[in-house]
């Protein structure tokens, strides 16, 4: 019934050589990270000052990496588009960070965190990387506590834990509903300490617009100073991208409005493979859209599902206020369909279930695009003060946005784009297919497969930045310093010219439509056809629509102002132009993956009761795409499951 892939003759893509080596050491999985570190070359502390690293992005991954590399004694140049590194969007992560500390003595272990993550990812993540992530998780908590991150505590002074979607143990550490903020400030403070020490220089309000590749190695970047408009080349022995995900391709998402794919997309165009671009997480608990004007969506932390119960009326079109709907006429659909996990099923499962009940006409609120998240039982059981202590800031945020009081009436929530599991392909060392280009955090693809579990993004960002990259990058740098490069090198000249030419081109179109109008239209195409449910027919249409829109963009966009000043329209234009290319690849990837797995739900592949139907025989691989200028080339990294048995995921 299933084909191995779309027939390449359809012209959308071709199939190239498989990826044979991920550089993970052989041997028992529990020893691989030790083996890798032992075999890695070291850099003599006296030589580190002569080695330079560029880090793009200052979220949890980039901030922690830059601080750690600075502490190690390397020369670090950091770039971020915001006005200070402390603003990166990790700051908005609410719920928590996982670690296999087993403080609750509830049967947790490194192996269980590893298992939960592989299973939660619906068997599309790489075992070696995930196991390392679970191992390193415990060190992260130690590091952050020592930095002064004010995690929630119990009365005895010990750290508190809670549980999160997709798991049955309590391993999530949290700082009220602002865990990301507190972890990021910890990394930011460590980074600023290195700035004071002179090892790190931060260039805020700078955006990376291209990668400089010399003799096959990443040797620098072209950046634009967003205040003066100056475009310049920056050089180093290695480049680290920590620029987050590409959820803003959908226009409406929970990402910050500035989040973009430009750094990773430009690197992709320079030769870095892009893995699993169609794996985008739609988060179940967001505040529903309120109107046309909406510029972003706001997440309500998944931790709310610990105490809130999700329901809709049993009757389609039931227009009564929630309080007027008696208990027996409510459908607690997650508890009903998934008795073992109830409201704590993984995100992809919860989102799709919410979509289904709304499609049946049982959604609530404007347009019927919402479900209730009800705290009445929890407030009755635990009292309002306990709920306020756990979720107070989230309730306030909800009230601020909707002007409704969730202590009195249930919240209304609906799924929204939140995170991208796909990203640049990296090996075990977090190195892309361009030597010297390392990719960490959400910007890479490596740890979450087809679905990320709650409280695992913060864990991965900090694991990569504090612990993994500093070891693996040292191995690469130990062969340096690499021959010096400057502005006169032909590769630099070509890259600078390409960046300048593109800016000139954007400013010169002189059409009638604003950048945002294109962005919104792209978002609608992707949401409708490459969102929670995908079909062959829809994706085929979407590819044509994205191509047509891209063509129209370059014919009819209008970008006011000049390139030599602070010009926010120009910044957005470049980002949207890249989303218009990436959007097509997302759809091609979704079309070629002729199975359902995790977030990727192909309507053609479902069980009789509507669960995702994987096709491990044909699709147990990472799809890593090569840019050609024409149809992309697919390289497959076959996934082997030696430690977690490959089986249908069930949360029933």
């Amino acid at each position: 019934m299933s084909e191995t892939a779309m027939p390449p003759e359809s012209g959308l893509f071709s199939v190239g050589a498989p990826i044979a080596d991920t550089k993970a050491p052989p041997g028992p999985i529990g020893e691989r990270w030790d083996v890798r570190r032992f075999n890695a070359r070291l850099v003599n502390p006296a030589n580190r000052r002569r080695l330079s690293v560029i880090v793009i992005g200052t979220g949890l991954a980039g901030g922690s990496a830059a601080a750690t590399l600075g502490e190690g004694g390397y020369r670090v140049e950091v770039f971020c588009f915001q006005d200070t590194p402390r603003r990166a969007h990790s700051i908005a992560a609410q719920g928590g960070i996982n670690a296999a500390k087993n403080y609750r003595n509830d049967g947790d272990s490194v192996m269980r965190l590893f298992y939960d993550t592989v299973k939660g990812g619906d068997f599309r993540a790489r075992e070696s990387n995930v196991h390392r992530l679970a191992q390193v998780s415990v060190d992260i908590i130690d590091q952050c506590v020592a930095q002064g991150v004010p995690f929630a505590r119990e009365y005895g002074g010990l750290l508190d834990n809670r549980s999160f979607g997709g798991v049955q143990v309590s391993r999530t550490f949290y700082a009220r509903g602002q865990t990301g903020q507190q972890l990021l400030l910890g990394a930011y403070q460590a980074l600023e300490r290195q700035v004071a020490a002179g090892t790190v220089r931060v260039h805020a309000r700078h955006e990376m617009l291209d990668l400089i590749v010399v003799d096959g190695r990443a040797r620098g970047v072209v950046v634009r100073n967003l205040v003066t408009g100056e475009v310049s080349a920056q050089f180093a022995d290695a480049v680290v991208l920590a620029t987050g995900g590409y959820g803003n391709a959908f226009y409406l998402s929970t990402n910050a409005v500035g989040c973009n794919a430009t750094a990773i997309w430009r690197a992709h165009r320079r030769g870095a493979l892009f893995a699993n671009p169609c794996f985008t997480q739609i988060h179940p608990t967001c505040i529903p859209v309120s109107g046309e004007h909406q510029s972003k969506l706001t997440l309500m932390s998944e931790s709310l599902r610990n105490d809130g119960r999700i329901w809709v009326p049993k009757l389609a079109g039931d227009g009564r206020a929630p309080a007027d709907i008696p208990e027996r006429e409510r459908d607690y659909f997650l508890e009903r369909r998934y008795p073992a996990f109830g409201n704590l099923v993984p995100r992809d499962v919860a989102s799709r279930a919410a979509k289904n009940v709304c499609d049946e006409g049982r959604g609530v609120g404007p347009g019927g695009l919402g479900v209730y998240l009800d705290f009445a039982d929890a407030i009755a059981r635990l009292g309002r003060p306990v709920i306020a202590e756990r979720y107070g800031n989230l309730f306030d945020m909800y009230r601020q946005i909707t002007s409704e009081d969730p202590y009195r009436a249930p919240m209304r929530i609906y799924p929204a784009v939140h995170y991208t599991m796909g990203g640049l392909w990296v090996d075990y060392d977090l190195q892309s297919t361009i030597p010297g280009l390392f990719v960490i955090g959400e910007a890479n693809f490596s740890d979450h497969g087809a679905n990320r579990l709650g409280a695992s993004a913060l864990m991965q960002g900090l694991a990569d930045g504090y612990f993994v990259l500093p070891s693996t990058l040292a191995h690469y740098l130990a062969a340096g310093p690499y021959p010096s490069v400057d502005e006169t090198h032909p590769a630099t000249r070509e890259t600078l010219a390409a960046v300048r030419e593109r800016i000139t081109r954007l400013l010169a179109v002189g059409g009638r439509r604003t950048v945002d109008s294109f962005h919104k239209e792209l978002g609608t195409i992707l949401w409708d056809h490459c969102g929670m449910e995908r079909t062959r027919e829809g994706l085929t249409q979407a590819i044509a629509a994205v191509r047509a829109l891209r063509e129209e963009f370059w014919r009819d966009v209008t970008v006011p102002g000049s390139g030599e000043e602070l010009n926010q329209s120009l910044e957005r234009a470049g980002r949207v132009a890249d989303f218009l290319e990436l959007g097509e690849l997302m759809c091609i990837d979704a079309l070629h993956r002729d199975e359902s797995c995790g977030c990727h739900f192909r309507a053609e592949h479902q069980t009789p009761d509507g669960e995702a139907l994987r096709d491990d025989e044909h699709f147990a691989y990472v799809a890593a795409w090569e840019h050609t200028g024409g149809p992309p080339v697919l390289h497959k990294e076959q996934l082997a499951y030696e430690y977690v048995e490959l089986k249908a995921r069930s949360y029933k």
């Binding site: 402390r86 004010p150 903020q181």
Partner: protein, 270 residues
């Protein structure tokens, strides 16, 4: 709703600026204030005019990037929210609303409503951290923190570094921002070894950046979107005095170049 915005327009750093009137019709009370600026910018762009430059990123009140003085109040008329979380239901149909950037010597305007707040980063660089290189941390549970201290530290740590406190302060002081960090780290056992040096270095940097002194009027806490309490300023002051005392004990007499800083000494001269 229809409203009129009078917006500060300034082409670049150090250039003269002035208020320009823009009408925005047909907006919904559910829109955020920044979404109204988005709508205005769409219209200006379509009409071939220069859109209004303003900062924002998360648009959910946590990154600290947004910040406008609205009708003379930093972050606008509603207490405890950032500009991005202010909704038009806080205004009435027909309102005329003044929109200006943060005004403070250490925050130069870059364009229109965008200012440079890097001075706040430099205050953190001076000592707003605990020195713990990656890998050197002890087991997390070897450090017990009484729940109340953890909660109070957390409250102070929620500062988003927006700079509204500076914009609101008649003296242009960043005392609330500074106090929040001193309090966060000073309340935790992990923060004790560097408590003295942190207080002295951060206050010195605060003053050197040109922020004014604090004479305790409380305008700052009234506009703070995270409700950072004035008490953090007293704590900061106490830590500085204690540090000077310890320093004096070591040096046998107060060092001449160390003072309590501008914190307690009124407006910065200029």
């Amino acid at each position: 709703m229809n409203i009129t915005l009078r917006i500060w327009r300034q082409p670049g750093p150090g250039r003269p600026g002035h208020m320009v009137t823009h009408r925005v019709d047909d907006i919904s009370p559910d829109m955020s204030f920044l979404e109204v600026l988005d709508v205005l910018n769409q219209r200006l762009t379509a009409a071939g005019e220069d859109p209004v430059a303003f900062d924002s990123d998360c648009r959910e009140g946590i990154c600290g990037m947004c910040g406008l003085v609205i009708n003379g109040i930093a972050h606008g008329p509603q207490a405890s929210v950032t500009t991005c979380q202010l909704h038009m239901r806080s205004f009435a149909d027909g309102d005329v609303i003044d929109v200006e950037p943060w005004r403070a010597g250490p925050f130069p305007v870059l364009k229109d409503l965008v200012v440079d707040r890097s001075a706040l980063d430099r205050i953190i660089q001076a000592g707003g951290y605990i020195s713990i290189p990656t890998g050197s941390a002890p087991e997390a549970h070897s450090i017990l923190v009484p729940k109340d201290d953890a909660e109070d530290a957390f409250d102070a740590a929620t500062c988003i570094g927006c700079g509204a406190c500076v914009a609101a302060c008649p003296n242009g002081s960043a005392a609330l921002f500074l106090g929040a960090k001193i309090t966060h780290l000073g309340l935790l056992p992990q923060g004790q070894p560097e408590r003295d040096s942190r207080a002295l270095a951060m206050i010195a940097r605060h003053d050197a950046e040109g922020f004014g002194g604090c004479s305790q009027i409380g305008e700052c806490t009234a506009v703070c979107p995270k409700d950072i309490q004035l008490e953090v300023i007293s704590r900061c002051h106490r830590d500085v005095v204690t540090a000077l005392f310890h320093h004096g004990e070591q040096q046998e007499g107060p060092p001449e170049d160390q003072t309590g800083g501008n914190l307690a000494s009124g407006p910065a001269g200029d």
